[in-house]
Amino acid sequence: MSERILELQVNGETHRLLSSDHRTLLEVLREDLALTGTKHGCDAGECGACTVLLDGRPALACLVLASQIRGKVITTIEGLSESGQPHELQTAFADLGAAQCGYCTPGMILSSAALLDEVPDPSRDDINQALAGNLCRCTGYSKIVEAVHFVAGGGQDR
């Protein structure tokens, strides 16, 4: 197993750590950086629970090797709240019942954040498409889509 020093930009902080080449970003985030907000439901790219943002785009942390990141900016659910202020999506998901067990929630929120970044006023179809890779076993998705829609509308019920 070869090891190397990795430099990772995570949530606005730079981390230098020694890691073996084969470790996934998911493992490094959860185990080395104690950022356990990133979840995992399959470790095989099937569920979306491990979604993080790489340079603002959603990526499955279980499918990316930490050694492949090469300078990309990583955002996890912990990094979405800026200076202690929760992101609007975090508040909307909480207030509108979009989380039941909460296990899909970090991934859902990050996928939604990436969507809103690119398409500020998405249709329900756009939201469904953007979240199709994030499985939720509890909610039936309606309240999740509702929460994203709510934030897209500037916090207005539409």
């Binding site: 356990t36 907000g37 439901g41 399959c42 095989a44 989380a99 909460g102 296990y103 970090p106 076993r137």
Partner: protein, 791 residues
């Protein structure tokens, strides 16, 4: 009289919602105590074999390996039900399904643990495998539990209420139908994980994603042969449960043993593949139902047979078996009813309870048969249901006590909202609409092991600053039980749910609640919390009344204030009231409990199905079904659920939506499929669950029938709404294309086959043709309950 509520009946976010959305909530696998070792289990590659030897020496010699254990290290058997203690933490002498754990290691990291597993040498001697019902009922194959050859029957049951032969003889029309409901699984997004730690003083702590910390506590004490008082079980927030985390599991016992042997904390996180082997999902059930009808659609008698493929272990099996026959008469007045059922063992992962536990299969059968009977009799699906509808406050022929029942309102609601009457039979070809109803328990009437103690206990402790801490073992699996408790207590004490401190699911700190299964928590823990809070309230009210020289009955506790009705300026703050009460009578600590009334009928098996209250649901599904490809696109789902009283509108709706979601997945594609004894695809890629793209709009109505015994009138909502969804889909497919898909899941291949069959002049039906000829034994004859009036 309408009661003004302050906390009850609002759209209340979960008390931990912001922790969830900011990633701060800690699930079991998020716990990493210092020095934690990685535990891994070696799983059987054989479906049925004797273990001739296990050599762990090479694994033990590997650097970084701290312990290796096998079945011999944990030889005491266990099982969730006292009557089926047939599991071992690690297989002892014999394996019974592919994926059964046979050995385990604890190592410094995952790589080392995995490598160590590869070094364990197990010698198996294969036995004939039993993979289906036919094998299990043959008498010349090896017994999975026991020695020699014989039928692999786990349990059978035969019960008769009233006189079915007479009822059928008197019928104007009799139908016989055969159905097969293939099994499926929970697929909670969080895979099970457990962390154990053993103190130098000999105290064991287990953190686990379990729905039932109390039962895990008991199993640990039994298998580890340790006093329960030295064991602490903490249920971490479950990342979904649905019944998949309600058995004590191998990894929970193994991780505890490894922690005790190594003196270091150990964690086991099941892989997604492991979870498919741990299973305990929906039983595959073959069903035969013969029902007699009057010409106006009234049911004269029903004879129901079920054959359950239970997999390798007992699990909740005896209960699952009876559940397939228990709730038929809770939605319709069936005057004569016979139930015969058998559960068999096979060499596959054990089945158990999944949302609806044993009842969705039977519900699918009777709700689709009713539509067929209506067609036979020239009635419409609504008329035949209304004609047979259960009465509120009545007894069923099999001795179930029905109290509040809003089923009629539920049906009215979905029929109107969906435009069912205008649409059924009148939509263009390929588009159809279907109706079905269902019913579920608000908590199993009896605990899993016989005892006369309360089924739920709640304690409240009030701090001198007025802060209220609620202690309850109720376990939040995503259904929102913690928030439910907060709402009940806050309502009673005039506080906000978010103001309370919740301590839950910890066997050291919290008084017993039996767990999150059978939709029991709102009814049972809710009532226990209400009793505890009422006592606290009374003490504060008495002390404040004394202080104000007022009559306690004149005092109001609301908005953090205690004052005389109509004079908000008169009183004291809640915190001041707490001080007065503490001065008057000492520590402000009170408890409450709930024990279900005695409801069981006078027969063996009567313990299954009884409940202090039942929820009711009606559902209409409208869909498009492509006649060429068999692809189904669900357009809309209308569902109305009698919840008694919605303590939390937001999350009650969420439970309905989630139940509909799970029902649609089961109806259309989910299947725990095997090739022989081998799982066809233990991954979420192969086991497909609905994504956002498959979900139609769900139109939810909550009907409030105000149950007399529920907390603030509340009943369950976690499981019931799933039940009618599956038959409503089947009935809608029939309306769309004229075919009967009598097998779940209703996949495109079956629909296409049914279309071909009908094009060739066949019946346009796909499904099993017969059930095995099995001797269920002489049915136990049970007189209908006193006061039972046949319709």
């Amino acid at each position: 009289m309408t009661v003004e509520h302050t906390a009850v009946g609002r759209r209340t976010p979960r008390v931990d919602a912001m922790d969830q959305t900011t990633g701060r909530i800690r699930y079991a696998d998020d716990l990493n105590p210092a020095g934690v070792l990685v535990g891994r289990q070696l799983r059987s590659t054989h479906s049925h074999a004797l273990i001739k030897s296990i050599d762990t020496s090479a694994a033990l010699a590997l650097a970084g390996v701290k312990a290796v254990i096998t079945g011999a290290d944990l030889p005491v058997s266990y099982g969730i039900l006292p009557v089926s203690q047939d599991e071992h933490a690690l297989a002892l002498h014999r394996v019974r399904h592919v994926g059964e754990p046979v050995a385990a290691v604890a190592a410094v990291d995952a790589e080392t643990a995995e490598r160590a597993l590869g070094l364990i040498d197990v010698h198996y001697e294969p036995l004939d495998e039993i993979v289906n019902l036919d094998h299990a009922l043959a008498d010349d194959l090896p017994l999975i539990h026991g020695e020699g050859l014989g039928q692999n029957v786990h349990r059978k049951a035969a019960l008769e209420f009233g006189d079915v032969d007479e009822g059928l003889a008197a019928a104007h029309h009799v139908r016989e139908d055969v159905y097969f409901f293939r099994g499926n699984t929970h697929a909670a997004l969080e895979t099970q994980a457990a962390v154990a730690s053993y103190s130098a003083d000999g105290k064991l702590t287990l953190w686990s994603s379990t729905q039932v910390p109390h039962y895990v506590h008991r199993s640990l004490a039994r298998v580890l042969e340790m006093p329960a008082g030295r064991i602490r079980v903490i249920a971490t927030p479950n990342g979904g449960g649905f019944g998949g985390k309600t058995d004590p599991f191998s990894h929970e016992l193994v991780v505890a043993k490894l922690a005790m042997l190594t003196g270091r904390p150990v964690k086991i996180n099941l892989s997604r593949e492991d979870v498919f082997y741990a299973h305990r999902g929906r039983h595959p059930v073959l069903m035969w139902v013969k029902t007699g009808f009057e010409s106006d659609g009234r049911i004269t008698a029903m004879h129901f047979k079920s054959f359950l493929d239970g997999g390798a272990f007992g699990s909740y099996g005896p209960a699952s078996l009876y559940y397939t026959g228990a709730l038929q008469a809770t939605t319709y007045r069936i005057p004569n009813y016979r139930f015969e059922g058998v559960r068999v063992f096979t060499n596959k992962p054990a089945c158990g309870p999944k949302r609806g536990h044993g009842t969705p299969q039977a519900r699918f059968a009777i709700e689709t048969q009713l539509d067929k009977a209506a067609d036979d009799l020239g009635l419409d699906p609504l008329a035949i249901r209304v004609r047979n509808l259960i009465e509120p406050y009545s007894m069923t022929v099999n001795h179930l006590r029905i109290t509040s029942c809003g089923l009629s309102d539920c049906i009215d609601d979905v029929i109107k909202a969906s435009g069912f009457a205008e649409k059924r039979g009148k939509l263009p070809p390929g588009r159809g609409i279907g109706l079905a109803v269902g019913c579920y328990m608000s908590g199993a009437g009896l605990p899993i092991y016989f005892n006369k103690m309360p089924q739920s206990e709640v304690q409240l402790k009030v701090d001198r600053g007025g802060g209220v801490t609620v202690y309850s073992m109720a376990t939040d699996v995503g259904q929102g039980s913690t928030s439910m408790l907060a709402i009940v207590v806050a309502e009673c004490l005039g506080l906000e749910p978010g103001d309370l401190t919740m301590v839950t699911a910890d066997t050291d700190l919290t008084p017993v609640d039996l767990g999150s299964y059978s939709s029991r928590v709102t009814f049972m823990a809710g009532n226990a919390a209400l009793e505890a809070a009422t006592k606290v309230r009374q003490r504060v009210v008495d002390a404040v009344a004394n202080h104000l020289e007022a009559v306690p009955e004149d005092l109001l506790v609301e908005g953090g204030h205690v004052h005389v009705v109509g004079d908000p300026d008169s009183g004291v703050t809640w915190a001041e009231g707490v001080v007065l009460a503490t001065v008057a009578d000492g520590p402000l600590i009170e408890s409450g409990s709930y024990t279900a009334p005695k409801l069981a009928g006078p027969y063996k098996g009567a313990g299954v199905g009884i409940s202090p209250a039942f929820s009711f649901t009606a559902c209409v599904v409208e869909l498009e079904c492509d006649a060429e490809t068999g692809l189904v696109d669900v357009a809309d789902v209308w569902v109305a659920h009698d919840i008694g009283k919605a303590l939390n509108l937001l999350h009650s709706e969420g439970q309905v939506e989630g139940g509909v979601y799970m029902g649609l997945g089961e109806a259309l594609f989910e299947e725990h499929a095997f090739r022989g004894a081998l799982h066809r695809g233990p991954s979420l890629l192969d086991y497909k669950i609905p994504t956002t793209l498959e979900m139609p709009p769900v139109h939810t109505t909550l009907i409030e029938s105000d149950d007399p015994e529920g907390p603030f009138g509340a009943k369950e909502v976690g499981q019931g709404p799933l039940l009618p969804v599956i038959p409503a889909v089947a009935n809608a497919i029939h309306d769309a294309l004229g075919v009967h898909i009598d097998e779940v899941p209703m996949t495109p291949d079956k629909i296409v086959a049914a279309m071909r069959n009908s094009a060739r002049g066949g019946s346009g039906r796909i499904g099993p043709s017969a059930v095995p000829d099995f001797d269920f034994g002489e049915a136990v004859m049970v007189e209908p309950p006193e006061g039972f009036v046949a319709p």
